[in-house]
């Protein structure tokens, strides 16, 4: 629908596709990052008996705008012994890796960047690029803290990709598709059709699946969370040990790019979780558009539900971040290899048996 309109407007297939893929980025994710930074500061402040930013605008709503202006004005420091090529490339790759994931995330039945059939694999692939960016940044900074942070980060992200992929395989076995849009369509209408409640239909398999799906959702949440490094998984940038980890040496806009990528990642985690297990853009209670017979309303409702789910999980992440202490690097690895991966394996086998036998 949107693609046809863009095709008519530009008259070129490639241009239309590129513009459509970039739309979610400019229409949603960049403003969202501004919003999320403010949300984080407000949430943390209220959890800690503080008020948070109060000066810039009503209750500090313009604080992040002011912060961005400040960051743009900052001097871009490149030290003499930095490896300039990789030092400059690193924030770009991290930024690109985090933001490219949004191209395939379905915000509603019409508002999605590109409806490709390998959507899930695409997300895993592009977010995998982030590791390369982080390693580059850590190495090129020529700083021991950055290097330690980057090494930890690489080990962490690669380890946690394994349980993530296993749960994704579980989901693929049940839905039979890698396309996120089809996946969301599949979990249609009411919340008991969501994958966390065993998917659509009322067969025996659905009820057996429910506990496994809940565990899968939890494992997916934890392992994707660990890939994007907030507390309790923030050991790569553990402030009290490694100052800021791999981005210690960055300043100005380059730092802002790491910073924005982090907040984009927070939403990406939530978006993947809600697209796979919580019905994606589907409303939990049916649509007002159907009720009042106004089909044009439905995409807007879907957009609302998707962002609402996304922001809810972003809030959960902030909640965890401001409550829990940080793991140590070996404990983090133990947690992944000794708990998450075996559990994910068991779920994989059981769900496989269920899909074959029932």
């Amino acid at each position: 629908m949107m693609y046809d309109w863009l095709y008519n407007l530009t008259g070129s297939e490639i241009l239309a596709a590129v513009i459509q893929s970039l739309l979610p980025l400019f229409l949603f994710i960049l403003p969202f990052a501004l919003f999320a930074v403010l949300l984080e500061r407000k949430v943390s402040a209220h959890m800690q008996d503080r008020l948070g930013p109060m000066r810039v605008g009503y209750h500090g709503i313009l604080q992040t705008v002011a912060d961005i202006i400040k960051l743009v004005q900052k001097e871009d420091i490149i030290a003499r012994d930095n490896d300039k090529l990789f030092f400059n490339l690193s924030p770009l790759i991290v930024f690109m890796g985090s933001y490219a994931a949004f191209a395939v995330i379905p915000f509603s039945s019409v508002f999605l960047g590109s409806n490709i059939d390998l959507g899930l694999i695409f997300i895993v692939a592009v977010t995998g690029l982030v590791v390369a960016g982080i390693l580059m940044g850590g190495w090129a900074s020529n700083n021991k803290y950055s290097l330690l942070g980057a090494m930890r980060s690489a080990a962490q992200i690669i380890s946690y990709e394994i349980p993530t992929m296993m749960i994704i395989i579980v989901v693929i076995m049940l839905t039979g598709t890698l396309n996120l849009y089809t996946m969301s369509e599949w979990q249609t209408s009411y919340f008991w059709n969501w994958l966390i409640f065993g998917g659509p239909g009322f067969g025996l398999a659905k009820f057996i699946l429910i506990p496994f799906m809940m565990m899968s959702a939890l494992i997916l949440f934890i392992s994707t969370l660990a890939e994007v490094n907030p507390t309790p998984f923030d050991i790569p940038e553990a402030e009290s040990e490694l100052v800021s980890g791999y981005h210690t040496e960055y300043s100005g806009m380059k730092f802002a790019m790491f910073f924005l990528a982090e907040y984009a990642n927070m939403f990406a985690v939530s978006a993947i979780l809600s697209a796979l297990f919580f019905g994606g853009f589907q409303s939990p209670f049916g649509y007002l558009g159907n009720l009042f017979n106004v089909p044009a309303l439905i995409p807007f409702e879907q957009f609302f539900w998707f962002t609402a789910k996304g922001i809810f999980f972003v809030f959960v992440q902030m909640w965890l971040r401001w409550t829990l202490p940080r793991f140590r690097v070996d404990q983090l690895m133990t947690f992944c290899w000794k708990y998450l991966i075996p559990f994910a394996f068991v779920i994989l086998i059981i769900v496989g048996l269920i899909t074959v036998l029932l």
């Binding site: 943390s44 959890m47 800690q48 008996d49 503080r50 021991k144 803290y145 330690l148 507390t231 309790p232 923030d234 050991i235 553990a238 402030e239 009290s240 040990e241 490694l242 100052v243 401001w322 409550t323 829990l324 202490p325 940080r326 793991f327 140590r328 690097v329 070996d330 404990q331």
Partner: protein
């Protein structure tokens, strides 16, 4: 083929978020494993002991404030006790009670900073702000008493600078009632959090024998299971009148003397301090607080060593007087300085993240180490 590996030397500090001031640690690393830690101190050296030789006795009190700036009241307390012992001054009852109340409030305030920053070191930032919120109540009490929030110059030789604020006792009582549930809140949020326990239990174990050999005192020694507290074992002032327990570490979550024990001993000590404050508020008599202050402080020639149980351990003052208005020598036995020495021993074989956990659990104040 064998890979060529190299020992990495990492400088932690003097500007680093979790060295608790301007401490520089030279870490020798094998990957992330520590092979050696060398602390470098002296970035905050202010020649306290040399300065003291040129000052009159009362003039030294503000300098003692600036040593352990998180426990200023207790530094003054220890110093004036030493001078009073040298001069043989008897102070009025009310003064004794005021000093004890101030000292124990200061102990709670100091432990709150220690526990809060320890949480921040481990990565939990919220307990830090909760602790500072509660400490604020104590600082307010100090402010209405002495006019200052950090460096008080309140306890003088032979008395205190002036009497309590009329609201002080009521507010202190309110604080005690307010603070009891907050300790519980801290325990729920941080102390018994499984990640926190994983990070601190069995880390940096300090056996009792090693602790004694290194001369460790205070909560760090008690966490290793040694019941040694000067308030009970060598009572000074009027501590023998109060009923309170000495909490010791028992390896509840790991090994006796690990970081978690050092942390938890402080939590329990805050509760004991509350008990002392409650009893002191009930017993405090009326009276003049400045009557015993000597007009001219000129101790007879001689020497004295006096020690008190500071929030961080045994704070000792060794003063030599030659009979003039200036001391000939003031030597301070600073608990943080002595406690820091054990760091290298504790860190060996642990990871970089554990250095932060161990350093935080020793709870040093650089102002006192460097003086």
């Amino acid at each position: 083929m064998s890979l060529k590996t190299e020992e990495m030397i990492l400088n932690m500090g003097p500007q680093h978020p979790s060295t608790h001031g301007v401490l520089r640690l030279e870490l020798k690393l094998e990957g992330e494993i520590i092979t050696d830690v060398i602390p470098h101190i002296g970035y905050l050296h202010r020649c306290f002991e040399k300065h003291a030789e040129a000052m009159t006795y009362p003039q030294i009190i503000p300098y003692t404030d600036r040593m352990d700036y998180l426990a200023s009241m207790y530094n003054e307390f220890g110093y004036v006790l030493a001078v009073e012992k040298l001069m043989g001054i008897e102070v009025p009852e009310r003064v004794e009670y005021i000093r004890v109340i101030m000292g124990e409030l200061q102990r709670i305030a100091s432990h709150l900073v220690a526990l809060g920053t320890y949480g921040a070191d481990i990565g939990a930032f919220t307990p830090f702000l909760f602790c500072f919120r509660d400490r604020e109540h104590i600082l307010h009490l100090f402010e209405i008493t002495s006019g200052a929030r950090l460096l008080y110059n309140y306890i003088w030789i032979g008395g205190v600078s002036h009497d309590l604020h009329p609201d002080f006792l009521r507010l202190t009582k309110e604080f005690v009632d307010y603070f009891r549930p907050k300790v519980k809140e801290l325990n729920e949020l941080l102390t018994f959090n499984q990640i926190f326990i994983d990070r601190t239990a069995n880390v940096g174990v300090l056996p009792a024998e090693t602790a004694i050999n290194y001369g460790i005192t205070g909560p760090n020694l008690r966490a290793s299971g040694v019941k040694w507290d000067l308030r009970k074992d060598d009572p000074y002032s009027i501590y023998d009148r109060f009923d309170f327990e000495i909490p010791v570490g028992n390896g509840e979550k790991g090994t006796c003397g690990d970081c978690w024990d050092r942390y938890y001993v402080r939590v329990k000590e805050m509760e004991e301090s509350l008990k002392i404050i409650e009893q002191a508020i009930e017993q405090i008599p009326e009276g003049d607080v400045t009557s015993a202050i000597p007009r001219r402080v000129k101790p007879p020639a001689g020497q004295v060593y006096s020690r008190v149980e500071n929030p961080r351990g045994e704070l000792g003052y060794f003063i030599i007087s030659d009979g003039s208005v200036n001391p000939k020598r003031v030597k301070v036995r600073a608990p943080s300085f002595v406690n820091l020495e054990v760091l290298g021993e504790l860190c060996k074989g642990h990871m970089v993240a554990d250095v932060v956990a161990i350093l935080g659990s020793i709870d040093i104040v650089l102002g006192e180490i460097d003086r």
